[in-house]
Symmetry: C2
Subunit: 81 residues, 2 copies
């Protein structure tokens, strides 16, 4: 599982997106580890995505959405973006 | 303008997303160079995004959407994602 995003100063929109991911995950009643495994994303990277600490890539957005059984656009709409 | 995505094998969903960006750009009747400048993205990187050759980052998706006067979710919906 290669990680291509880098640590960045927290961007409000990334924090909103991470919160949207977390909300959908909790609604499915699954752990962060389970979501990471389902999305085939490194577990610590998933934690950083949920905290808005990573400038997450398009393909990881798609993987996370699939694992959350929703569309990538849903996650952006949930984030108000 | 830092670039954080890497060359990847073409992924169909990235190609769809790039086509959605291009369609919105053409609808605004602006050049790829103008879109790159508006989005503050390197011009050659913008070309690769439109061709689906880059695993574009969240913040660049947001910048491109802003430059296209739409929401990031619109670009994903246009892409069928």
């Amino acid at each position: 599982m290669t990680r291509v995003s880098v640590k960045i100063d927290k961007d409000g929109r990334l924090v909103l997106f991470g919160a949207a991911v977390r909300a959908r995950r909790l609604a499915l009643n699954i752990s962060q580890e389970t979501l990471a495994d389902l999305a085939e994303i490194d577990r610590s990277h998933m934690g950083k995505i949920e905290r808005g600490e990573r400038n997450v890539s398009f393909l990881n957005i798609v993987r996370v959405a699939q694992a959350l059984q929703c569309q990538p656009s849903d996650l952006f709409i949930d984030s108000g973006l």
